[in-house]
C-alpha cells in the first residue's frame, strides 16, 4: 500500500516531467562559493557581538569563572528565590553558591533518572533562568547554534524567560555557509546529522499584532551570551 503510494507519486512526477526514470544521478549546481574567515579572530567576534546586540541580545566577555559568577549574581534579584536550570557542567552549582537559587541540573549526556524525566518539563516550566552552552556562533547574523547529542539544551534554552548561553569565541564562524559545510562534514564522519540543530538569533519575538515587535513570545524574553575561551 505504502510502496504503491510512493510508486504512484513518482510515476505522476515523471509523467509531468515528460520522461522516464533518471539513468544517472543528477549533478547539483554548485553551492555558493565558500567564504573564508578565521573562526574566533577578533573581527569575527566583534561582528558577532554587534549583530547580536542589534537584535536585542546581550554580549559580554568573561575571562575567569569569577566573571561568570558576578554576571549571574547581577541577573538574580536579591531576596527572591530563583530557579536556575542548566544543561552544562555541575560547576554552575558552584557559581551560584551563596545565592538564593536552586539549580535543576541536566548534565552532559547523562540521564536525570526515570522519575525525574517525568517531572522534568514541569520543573523547567518553573525555572527563571536557563543556562546552556552553544556549539557555534555565526558572526554575520549574531546567531547561536545549539546541536543535540552532547548537551540537553533544547528545553533549557526555550522554557525559562531568561536564556544565558556560554560561547567559546574560538567557535564563532564567519558565515552560515561555513556552519552548514561543517555540519555536513561532521554528520558524514559520524553517521546521521544531529536530531536537532537550532539556530537562535536574539530573544523570541512576535509582530503579529499591528506588526509591532514584542520580545518574549513563547521562548525567552532575554538572551545573554557570555563569550569565553575554554572556560567550560
Amino acid at each position: 500500500m505504502k510502496g504503491l503510494a510512493k510508486e504512484n507519486m513518482v510515476a505522476r512526477i515523471r509523467t509531468a516531467l515528460g520522461r522516464g526514470p533518471l539513468e544517472v544521478t543528477p549533478g547539483c549546481p554548485s553551492a555558493l562559493p565558500e567564504q573564508t574567515a578565521d573562526a574566533g579572530n577578533e573581527n569575527v567576534v566583534e561582528m558577532f557581538c554587534t549583530e547580536l546586540r542589534r537584535v536585542g541580545g546581550h554580549a559580554v566577555h568573561v575571562r575567569v569563572e569569577g566573571d561568570v559568577k558576578e554576571y549571574l549574581r547581577n541577573l538574580l534579584p536579591a531576596g527572591v528565590e530563583m530557579v536556575v536550570a542548566s544543561s552544562i557542567s555541575a560547576r554552575v552549582g558552584a557559581w551560584l553558591t551563596g545565592q538564593n537559587a536552586s539549580v535543576i541540573s541536566l548534565a552532559h549526556g547523562g540521564s536525570v533518572g526515570a522519575a525525574a524525566e517525568d517531572t522534568l518539563t514541569s520543573s523547567l516550566l518553573r525555572a527563571d533562568i536557563g543556562i546552556t552552552s552553544a556549539d557555534y556562533g555565526i558572526a554575520e547574523t549574531g546567531t547561536l547554534v545549539l546541536i543535540t547529542g552532547r548537551e540537553r539544551h533544547r528545553l533549557v534554552s526555550l522554557l525559562p524567560p531568561v536564556h544565558v548561553c556560554l560561547l567559546d569565541v574560538r567557535h564563532i564562524l564567519g558565515s552560515m555557509g561555513q556552519l552548514l559545510t561543517l555540519v555536513y562534514r561532521d554528520s558524514y564522519s559520524g553517521g546521521a546529522p544531529p536530531q536537532s540543530l537550532t539556530m537562535l538569533t536574539g530573544p523570541s519575538c512576535t509582530a503579529d499584532i499591528e506588526q509591532t515587535l514584542t520580545q518574549g513570545m513563547h521562548g525567552p524574553r532575554e538572551l545573554h551570551v557570555l563569550l569565553h575561551m575554554s572556560l567550560v
Binding site: A5, K6, N8, M9, V10, R12, I13, R14, T15, A16, L17, P21, L22, T25, P26, C28, P29, A31, R54, V55, G56, G57, H58, S111, L125, T141, T143, G149, R152, R154, L155, L158, M176, G177, L180, S187, A192, P193, Q195, S196, L197, T198, M199, L200, T201, G202, P203, S204, A207, D208, I209, E210, Q211, L213, T214, Q215, G216, M217, H218, G219
Partner: protein, 472 residues
C-alpha cells in the same frame, strides 16, 4: 533586566552588499529550485530514504484526504487527544484541523497570530501575518470575550496571556504538527523557520512529531540551504535571519535525549504534479511562501486576504488557487490583478506572476462583459482594446471579491486600514514605510533595503491618520 525586552529588532540599512548580493542570491535560488524540480523524483526519493534511515516514517499522499487519513489514523492508534500545531499553510490547504476534530482530536494553533485567528473562528488573511486584518483593540475584545482575562490594552500583555495558556497545551499535547519550509534530500532533514519559539516547543515536547510538506519543498543539499535562509526572512519581514531556525532529522537517538519518539513526514502532491506538467506555471512551485508579493500588491491591499476565498491570498494565491481547487471554481481570481508587475519584481525566487495570471486568463474562457466589445475573433484587434477589456475584467473581478468582503462591515474596516496604509506609502514623501521601500524596487530591482527604523514605528505612524497627517 527589562532593557532587552524594551528593545526592538533594529532592522537597518547597510547590512548587505546591496543590489548585487541580492541578485546573486535570487539567481542561485532559481537555479537550485529549477534543478530540483527537473529531478524531483530523484530528490524526493533520496529525502524519503534518509528520513527512514534516521528513524522517521514517510507517507506519500496524493491528496488532502489521504494526508488527513494518515494523520488521523496515527492520532487514533497513539491515543492522541490533543495536538499542538505550528503555522502551516499546507495544513490550511488540506483543512487538517477539521479532519482532526472529526476524529476527536483537539488541534491547537500555537503561532500567536494563528491562535488569535482560531479563537475568532477565522482563517488567516496573510501567509505570514495571519491577523493583519485585526487591530490590537479587536484582539483585546476577543481575549476579553473568549478567555475571561479582562480587557488588556498592551500587546505584551496579550502576548503573555497566549504564552501562559499555550505552555500548558504544549506540555499536555501528545502530538506536534508542523509544516516544512525546506526539506534537505541528502540528509532527510526538515528546516523550520520562526520568530516566536512555538515551533521549537511543538517539535521538542510532544512524543509524536508530524510534518506536512508539499512535494516542491525539497532542496538537494545542506549547502543549498544558505541561500534560502538569507532570502526568506529578508523578503518576509526584513530580518537578516529569524529568531529561530530548526534543522530536525529523524527521532531522538537515546532514551535520555530530547526530541520525539516518532517522526512522520507527509509528502503531499495535492495538485502540484499538475503544475509541474504545465511549463508556463511550473515556476510557481519555486514559491517559498514569504508573502512579499502580497505586501506590494495594490489589489491585495485594497481587498484584503479573505476576499481571495481560499488559503493563499494575493498574487501567488491568484495563481495557485485556480490551479489547485479548479479554474472553474475561482475563475475571477486571475483577473483580480492590475498586472503592475510589483509582485514579479519583489519575488525572491523570480516567479513571473503577471505572466502566469495572463496564461490562466487565456485558459479560463473569457466571457465578454455587457458594456465591453469583445475583441475580434480573427485576431486583428489592437492590443489597446484587448488591454481595456482586461482592465475592465480586472476591475469587475476585484470589485466582486471586494463586495463579498464588504458584506461584513468589520472585515471591511480592516481591509480599508490596509488600503489606507497603501495610499500613504504610495504617496511617497519623507515618511516611507517598508512597503514603499519595497515598491521602489519596481524600477531598481535591488535588494529590499532593510528599513532604517523598525517597521512597528512606521506602522504606528501610518495606521492612525487621526493622530497624524501624511506629508504632501
Amino acid at each position: 533586566m527589562s532593557k532587552a525586552t524594551e528593545k526592538f529588532i533594529a532592522i537597518q540599512t547597510g547590512v548587505s552588499a546591496g543590489g548585487e548580493e541580492w541578485q546573486r542570491l535570487r539567481k542561485r535560488a532559481v537555479m537550485i529550485k529549477s534543478h530540483t524540480l527537473d529531478n524531483l523524483d530523484h530528490y524526493l526519493e533520496q529525502f524519503a530514504s534518509n528520513v527512514e534511515h534516521s528513524g522517521g516514517r514517510v507517507c506519500w499522499a496524493h491528496d488532502a484526504e489521504e494526508a488527513n487519513r494518515y494523520i488521523c489514523d496515527l492520532a487514533r492508534t497513539r491515543g492522541v487527544r490533543l495536538a499542538v500545531k505550528s503555522k502551516s499553510m499546507m495544513s490550511e490547504e488540506i483543512d487538517l484541523n477539521h479532519a482532526l476534530a472529526m476524529a476527536g482530536v483537539e488541534a491547537v494553533e500555537t503561532d500567536f497570530g494563528e491562535f488569535i485567528a482560531q479563537l475568532a473562528g477565522e482563517r488567516p488573511s496573510h501567509i505570514n501575518m495571519p491577523i493583519v486584518h485585526k487591530s490590537r483593540a479587536d484582539v483585546a475584545d476577543l481575549f476579553a470575550a473568549k478567555l475571561n482575562v479582562g480587557r488588556l490594552e498592551e500587546i505584551k500583555d496579550l502576548a503573555s496571556v497566549a504564552r501562559r495558556l499555550l505552555r500548558a497545551r504544549f506540555a499536555a499535547a501528545e502530538m506536534g504538527i508542523t509544516g516544512v519550509n525546506f526539506a534537505i534530500a541528502e540528509t532527510g532533514t526538515i528546516v523550520l523557520v520562526e520568530n516566536e519559539g512555538n515551533i521549537r516547543f511543538t517539535t521538542a515536547l510532544p512524543p509524536v512529531q508530524v510534518a506536512v510538506m508539499g512535494i516542491e519543498k525539497v532542496i538537494p543539499r545542506l549547502a543549498d540551504l544558505e541561500v534560502f535562509l538569507k532570502l526568506l526572512p529578508r523578503s518576509a519581514s526584513g530580518q537578516k535571519i529569524t529568531a529561530g531556525v530548526s534543522l530536525l532529522t529523524g527521532i531522538k537517538r537515546a532514551p535520555h535525549e530530547e526530541g520525539p519518539r516518532e517522526f512522520h513526514v507527509i509528502i503531499l502532491d495535492n495538485g502540484r504534479t499538475g503544475i509541474l506538467a504545465d511549463p508556463q506555471l511550473r515556476e510557481s512551485l519555486h514559491c517559498i511562501r514569504c508573502g512579499a508579493c502580497l505586501n506590494v500588491c495594490p489589489v491585495y491591499r485594497k481587498i484584503g486576504g479573505h476576499a481571495y476565498g481560499w488559503v493563499y491570498p494575493g498574487p501567488i494565491g491568484a495563481v495557485l488557487t485556480p490551479i489547485l481547487i479548479g479554474r472553474e471554481k475561482s475563475a475571477d481570481l486571475p483577473f483580480a490583478s492590475s498586472l503592475c508587475g510589483a509582485c514579479r519584481d519583489v519575488c525572491p525566487v523570480k516567479i513571473n506572476l503577471p505572466e502566469m495570471l495572463l496564461h490562466l486568463r487565456t485558459q479560463i474562457k473569457e466571457r465578454p462583459a455587457a458594456k465591453v466589445d469583445p475583441p475580434a475573433r480573427t485576431g486583428s484587434h489592437s492590443p489597446r482594446t484587448f488591454g481595456q477589456l482586461l482592465a475592465n475584467r480586472a476591475e469587475r473581478a476585484a470589485f466582486k471579491l471586494w463586495a463579498a468582503v464588504m458584506k461584513d462591515a468589520r472585515r471591511y474596516r480592516r481591509a480599508a486600514r490596509l488600503a489606507r496604509l497603501a495610499q500613504l506609502t504610495l504617496g511617497g514623501g519623507k515618511r516611507r514605510g517598508v512597503f514603499s521601500i519595497l515598491l521602489s524596487r519596481w524600477t531598481t530591482s535591488h535588494i529590499p533595503p532593510l528599513a532604517p527604523q523598525p517597521f512597528s514605528s512606521w506602522w504606528r505612524e501610518l495606521s492612525d491618520p487621526d493622530e497624524r497627517r501624511p506629508e504632501r
